[in-house]
Amino acid sequence: MIDERSPAVEARQLVKRYGNITAVDGVSFQATQGEIFGFLGANGAGKTTTLRMLCGLLRPTSGTALIDGIDIVAEPLPAKAKLGYLDEEPFVHPHLTGREFLDFVADLYGMARGQQRVDRMERLLSLFDLAQKDGELIGSYSHGMRQKIGLASLLIREPSVLLLDEPTNGLDPRSARLVKDLLEELAARGTTVLLSTHILEVAQALCRRVAIIDRGRIVAIGSMDELRVQTGSEGANLEDLFLKLTAGPESREMIERLLASGS
């Protein structure tokens, strides 16, 4: 299926090497405007490295990362102004309160000061149940709360591209649901969301298309139907497809072997 909308995020043959180790090996994909694109892979498969190259935190060994058509290495400032990146361990300042942190990020991105900004900040703090934590330093937040303030710091300036690394990690079910609803609404408004996760239910529920990465390479890309066709697994869910494509050892078999050796 060819999408006629312009790609908001594009990875072209991205490679990242650390000495002899190739963490990402020729990854290419496109996510179009208003799409929630899933980026799936096991631990250490290369998801975070790819995302960090796309947001400009890591310089690719080779290949190109484009945000709204802008090369993030060649023109970092306009590209960064368009995107928001949430790390799996959000980058936050422990000695600021939630409100001060949002203020800091808003100023950092040159967001206009004034009532509109204050209202937006209050709305986001209330939305993520952080308003009552006013006066509490982020250093004392739980992981889930840090995740929420990290998300709020992205949403305060509404970037056109969101790169989210495990955004529901550590969130309670209510907050996780809130994030899912938010992402759907943002996508409907035209925001492109690149969602890296290994929670396959989240990916299946939210993403129109997914890319599966294994040992630094993309092994499959497309919608659920396209993946089923690619793997010849009619009626399979995302978990089955993922396990088949990443060709890991059968867990049941392993468990049985482990139990047998222990008895």
């Binding site: 208003g34 947001c55 400009g56 935190l57 890591l58 310089r59 970092p76 400032l77 306009p78 960064k80 102004a81 995107l83 990146y85 790390d87 361990e89 980058f91 936050v92 300042h93 000695h95 600021l96 309160t97 409100r99 001060e100 203020d103 800091f104 990020v105 808003a106 100023d107 950092l108 991105y109 040159g110 967001m111 206009a112 000061r113 004034g114 009532q115 509109q116 900004r117 209202d119 937006r120 209050e122 709305r123 939305l127 006013d134 006066g135 509490e136 330093l137 250093g139 004392s140 305060i156 300036r157 509404e158 809130l178 938010l182 759907e184 609404e185 943002l186 409907a188 408004r189 035209g190």
Partner: protein, 578 residues
């Protein structure tokens, strides 16, 4: 679990070995050389002082030994406290040990081994001195093992006392905060000792012409406090030197008994503290009391997460970046964040206080009447030193202490030049303010005229701008973003760059100032330049030379900033959470 102690110790040794192996070999070599040189200088110096005292001051040995042990105990109590807290009360691995079927006694014993390390290192200085006393006084052979045993006992006494103190403190203060405050107190003590040395003690110990130092005050003071347990090992050793075996054994047994008692008490209290989890497994919630911000207009509850329209709207929203107010400034953002962080971070605050105290010590030392420098040039030297010191204390860690927040800055549409500029502009005002106050104070004290004060102030602005830029660059060239301790947040390359650059800039700047001032006098025909004639031509040549030096100073700063910018732009690593 019986035998857990060797398991824990083995794991800790393995961890220590891995940390060592992971380090850059060049840094390991530098560290080894530093340790050897420090050992030779400190140990050798201490041994020589001890031997001299042992030989020439037999009447004062009891007081000197008691003073040595008391001073060591105080030093260990203050300087070694952060290590004791870190080892016994802080760390996620402690939680793992507590939930495992391991006796608290084993945990205590294992952790005690790492807790005593700082105190043991400090005791090395005294050990060398005490052995020197023995050598100088011709002590019997058993004096030496006895001295080492008593020093080890004293290390245990102080460490146990620190553990006991912490079990009490933890009832109110979380362990990490206590450690940070203790580190600050240790730094302050070091600075205060330095200050005291410059102001007073140096005079006491400086040999008088043709005679021994006057230690009568010291002797009478320690005679008044010889009941203190910290003096007992000293009494034991001095009794050995005097041949009083019975007295010596009594003091030694008293010291060992006290050590055993304190260690047992510490173990008991440690067990209770772990059982109650007081301040060890998570601090009380860190709430920063501040005025609760009241939103000026409360938005009405929205059914939709973002705006409440409920239905998805495909048309893009007007960007919040283009609001009705003035655009936010990244410089302001960084300045406010740094200011708030600085105010609330106990570690940074406690680090600044010694930094402010130390220049006073140097000021006192440099302003001694014996100094041959003239008033103005003495003031120039003071202002140069102070601005260099303050810049280093305030600016060198400004980028590395961003820690993981640095990634946030890299993600923002912000160039590294902007970041460097912001950091320089943030660190400059406090340095300038301190130097201005100091310049006025020294100018008034030395009765300098208004013109000289103005010259000094202009020079101070130039120096502060240069030193702050160099210090920020040094931190940016070799940042250790993962360092939990600010003092370790700049690597050796950055530190050397910062020190070397600052010294170079200081020499260039003072040279330029000298050329300007003497050149002006030469142009007016009033300078005394020795064999060089004081003519307008020579004066102009000197002023030109001064200008060239200014350009060289500016170029040095520009080169370092450019290098720092390149290093920050090329930063390509992840920063783990600390």
């Amino acid at each position: 679990m019986p035998g857990a102690l060797p398991v824990i110790v083995r794991a800790e040794l393995l961890g220590a070995r891995n940390r060592l192996v992971k380090r850059n070999p060049a840094r390991l070599v530098i560290l080894a050389i530093t340790l050897v040189v420090a050992g030779v200088f400190l140990g050798g110096g201490s041994f020589a002082i001890g031997a001299t005292a042992g030989h020439f001051l037999p009447f004062a040995l009891d007081s000197l030994l008691a003073a040595g042990f008391t001073a060591l105990s105080l030093l260990m109590l203050v300087v070694g406290f952060p290590t004791v807290i870190s080892s016994l009360f802080v760390g996620r691995d402690l939680l793992q040990l507590v939930v495992a079927p391991v006796r608290t006694r084993d945990i205590f014993a294992a952790r005690l081994m790492s807790a005593v390390t700082a105190n043991l290192l400090l005791s090395f200085i005294l050990a060398a001195g005490v052995l020197g006393v023995g050598a100088g006084a011709g002590a019997p052979w058993f004096y030496y093992p006895m001295a080492l045993l008593l020093i080890a006992a004293q290390v245990l006494v102080v460490t146990a006392l620190q553990a006991i103190l912490m079990t009490v403190i933890l009832r109110w203060v979380p362990a990490k905060l206590a450690r940070d405050v203790a580190a600050g107190v240790a730094g302050l003590t070091g600075a205060a000792l330095y200050l005291a040395w410059n102001l007073n003690l140096r005079k006491t110990f400086a040999g008088r012409k043709g005679g021994a130092p006057d230690v009568s005050n010291l002797t009478s003071f320690f005679q008044r406090i010889d009941w203190l347990p910290t003096t007992w090992p000293g009494h034991a050793l001095s009794a050995t030197l005097q041949g009083s075996v019975g007295t010596s054994l009594t003091w030694m047994l008293a010291t060992l008994a006290l050590g055993a008692l304190l260690v047992a008490a510490a173990e008991l209290l440690y067990e209770r503290t772990l059982l109650f989890g007081l301040g060890v497994f998570g601090a009380p919630t860190a709430v920063w009391r501040r005025r609760k911000a009241v939103p000026s207009s409360r938005p009405s509850p929205q059914p939709s997460p973002l705006r409440g329209e409920g239905v998805a709207r495909p048309s893009p929203q007007p960007s919040p970046l283009r609001g009705e107010g003035v655009p936010g400034s990244p410089y302001r953002a960084i300045a406010v964040k740094d200011w708030l962080g600085f105010r609330r971070d106990v570690r940074r605050l406690t680090r600044l206080l010694p930094a402010l105290l130390l220049p006073l010590g140097y000021a006192a030392a440099l302003s001694q009447p014996a100094r041959s420098l003239s008033g103005f040039w003495s003031n120039v030297a003071l202002v140069t030193f102070l601005s260099m010191f303050l810049s280093s204390a305030l600016a060198s860690t400004s980028i590395p202490t961003e820690r993981r927040g640095f990634q946030l800055l890299r993600l923002a549409p912000l160039t590294m030049w902007q970041l460097l500029r912001a950091k320089v502009f943030i660190a400059l005002p406090p340095v300038l303010a301190a130097i201005f106050v100091f310049s006025v104070a020294v100018a008034v004290t030395s009765k300098s005229g208004a013109v000289q004060l103005l010259e000094l102030l202009i020079f101070a602005v130039w120096l502060a701008a240069g030193f702050v830029s160099i210090s920020v660059s040094g931190g940016a060239i070799d940042p250790h973003f993962e360092a939990t301790d600010d003092r370790r947040s700049v690597g050796i390359v950055g530190t050397l760059t910062s020190i070397g650059g600052s010294l170079g800039f200081a020499v260039i700047s003072i040279g330029a100032l000298a050329l300007f001032l003497f050149g002006e006098q030469a142009a007016a025909g009033t300078a005394n330049l020795g064999p060089v004639p004081s003519t307008p031509a020579v004066g102009f040549a000197m002023i030109l030379g001064g200008l060239l030096l200014l350009v060289a100073g500016g170029a040095l700063v520009a080169i370092l900033l450019t290098f720092a910018n390149a290093r920050l732009r090329a930063f390509d690593a992840s920063i783990s959470e600390t």
